[in-house]
Structure formats: structure tokens, C-alpha cells
């Protein structure tokens, strides 16, 4: 989902930057507020960031014969709300843009939008909706994280199709081409991301039930609370 340095026309790069910036600012405020209310959560926030660090570093092979990586943003979004992941994704993307020539500074806004905003919003929304209609927590989290991953890659496809419409078929034809690369490759990876998110969440249920409770997450495993 990394749009490479210089590969968005300047107007697009600026526009996505302008859209993403307020989310990063609001996310920072949301994080500060949560941590001020409960300093214990700082470590858990670190875990959410760390999970994103790990998952977005893993380039996995897919059945399409190409490689891509998960994003790991679903966990933090479910724990800390949809805004908190925007600044965290920004840090990861900045690290990769500066050190790895992966993504770029001119495309940072667009990449934050797909990975740090759309993905987390989808994860948070689906998880809350699923819990509201009393679906079991594990499977709900799985679908939320899986579809968030896919949503991120679809967003990248839309961003590229907007910038580079097909000379004949326009936006739709270009979207089909970009989504053909990103979204299809991503399907098995998104499933992996969903499974890994449930795995780490199970670890947190075991070891951090008090923090999860403080974050308003009713626990699947009752009686595990200290």
C-alpha cells in the first residue's frame, strides 16, 4: 500500500496531506487524553504500535505470486479508538520513508490516509457494530482486522486510480487494474492479519484484562479479571 516517493501528482499529494493532517492531530489528542486519564495504558499503546511495526515489516508471499505486507492497525483501533492509529501509522510510514525508501515524504499523507485512517475506521466500526449485535468477540475481531487490511489496500487502489485514470476506461478501469494488484494479492494476507490480531488480543486478554476493562472492552473470558 506504499505509494512510492514522487508517484502522486503534487496536487494529489498535497490534498491527501491536508486530509490526513487533522486526523493525526486529533489522534494525538485522543492518545494524550487516554494516557492522562490512565497512565497504565501507555504500555498497551506501545504494544499496539509495536504490533504495527512487526506486521508492516513482514512482506509475505501471496497466491498471486507477488508479495505484500499486512498493516497491523486493527488492534490499536479496536483498543484505543479509530483516531489513535493515525499518528502511530504516521510514525511507521515515516520510518519506512526515511530509512527504507519505502513509500515517501510526498506520498506520506496519502499513505497515512489508507493505513492510518481508513483501515482503523473500518476495524473500529465493524468491531463495535459486531459487538453491538452481540456477535462473539473473537470472530468479530477477526473480521474487523481482516476487512480493515483489505480496506487499506482498496483505498490505495482508489488513490492511484484517481491520480492515474485509464486513458480509455477512466477511473473505473484504472481502479480495476490497481485493485487487481493490491486487493487480490492482499486477500490471504488480510486473513493472516485477522488471525494474528486475534492471537495477540488473546495474549492481552490473558495478561492485560484490567487495562482492557479500563478501555471499555467487555471481556470474552469472564472471570479472568484480577
Amino acid at each position: 500500500m506504499h505509494i512510492m516517493e514522487g508517484f502522486l501528482p503534487a496536487e494529489h499529494a498535497l490534498a491527501w496531506g491536508a486530509v490526513s493532517l487533522p486526523f493525526v492531530a486529533l489522534g494525538l489528542r485522543a492518545i494524550k487524553k487516554k494516557v492522562r486519564e490512565n497512565p497504565e495504558l501507555k504500555m498497551l499503546l506501545g504494544v499496539s504500535a509495536a504490533f504495527t511495526f512487526v506486521l508492516s515489516a513482514l512482506k509475505l508471499p501471496s497466491v498471486t505470486g507477488s508479495c505484500s505486507h499486512p498493516t497491523g492497525t486493527g488492534l490499536g483501533a479496536v483498543l484505543f479508538g479509530p483516531l489513535a492509529m493515525a499518528p502511530i501509522a504516521a510514525i511507521v510510514l515515516l520510518f519506512q520513508a526515511l530509512l527504507l525508501a519505502h513509500g515517501g515524504l510526498t506520498t506520506l499523507g496519502a499513505n497515512i490516509f489508507s493505513m492510518g485512517i481508513v483501515g482503523p475506521l473500518v476495524a473500529y466500526g465493524l468491531f463495535r457494530a459486531g459487538r453491538l449485535i452481540r456477535l462473539p468477540q473473537g470472530p468479530t475481531l477477526f473480521f474487523a482486522a481482516t476487512l480493515a487490511d483489505l480496506a487499506t489496500y482498496l483505498t490505495t487502489s482508489v488513490q492511484l486510480a484517481l491520480a492515474f485514470p485509464d486513458p480509455v476506461g477512466g477511473f473505473v478501469a484504472a481502479l480495476a487494474k490497481f485493485a487487481g494488484i493490491f486487493a487480490v494479492t492482499q486477500i490471504p494476507l488480510a486473513v493472516s492479519e485477522g488471525l494474528l490480531t486475534v492471537l495477540i488480543f488473546n495474549v492481552l486478554v490473558k495478561h492485560s484484562s484490567r487495562e482492557l476493562h479500563d478501555l471499555g472492552l467487555p471481556l470474552a473470558r469472564e472471570g479472568a479479571r484480577p
Binding site: G6, K59, V63, G104
Partner: protein, 109 residues
Amino acid sequence: MSKRWQNALMLLAVIVLIAYPLLTVRAPEAGPGEEPAEIFSGADGQAEGVIRQLAPDYQPWASPLMEPPSGEIESLLFALQAVLGAGFIGYYVGVKRERARWHGASGAA
């Protein structure tokens, strides 16, 4: 099914999802005098190919400030990124486990 089994099965499923393409996807046969096609290249790079095809005149107007000098250095930096994350998660779980054990021990005493 216990949580432990569920976790083990999920981990197994992830391993299968990663291993299956590695075992089944084969590079297409190269014609005479052709370079064999590359497989498992990055999707990001393939998107660049589509951009070049859709907009052949497009010139990237910025280039990365610093590029890893080789594939090895690039994988070093990716490994560093993963280590930072995995290291922190391991540290966190370790702290939590020990803290719970100490509390358990003092509670029992």
C-alpha cells in the same frame, strides 16, 4: 476447545497461508533467450509498472532522500523494524507475567 489450542490452530493457519503460495506458485517458463520471469516481487513495485503503462509521460517529481544501498541492507532495516516491535511485545508480556506471579505469590503468603 481451550484457548491454547485455538491459538495454536490460528498460528498454524497463518503458517499454511504463507507456505502455500511458496510451494505452489511457479515462475512461468522463460522462452528461448528470455530472462525467467520474477515471482514474489512487491505489489508496490507492480503498481509502479501499471502507472508507467497508464501514464507513460508521468515523471516522478521526488525521489527518496536515502535508499538502502543493497537488498541486504534493506532486509537489515526491515528486520530492525520487526525486531523493535517484537522486542517490545515480548518485554511487555514478560513484565506482565512476572508481575502477576509476584502478586500471586504475595497474595498466597
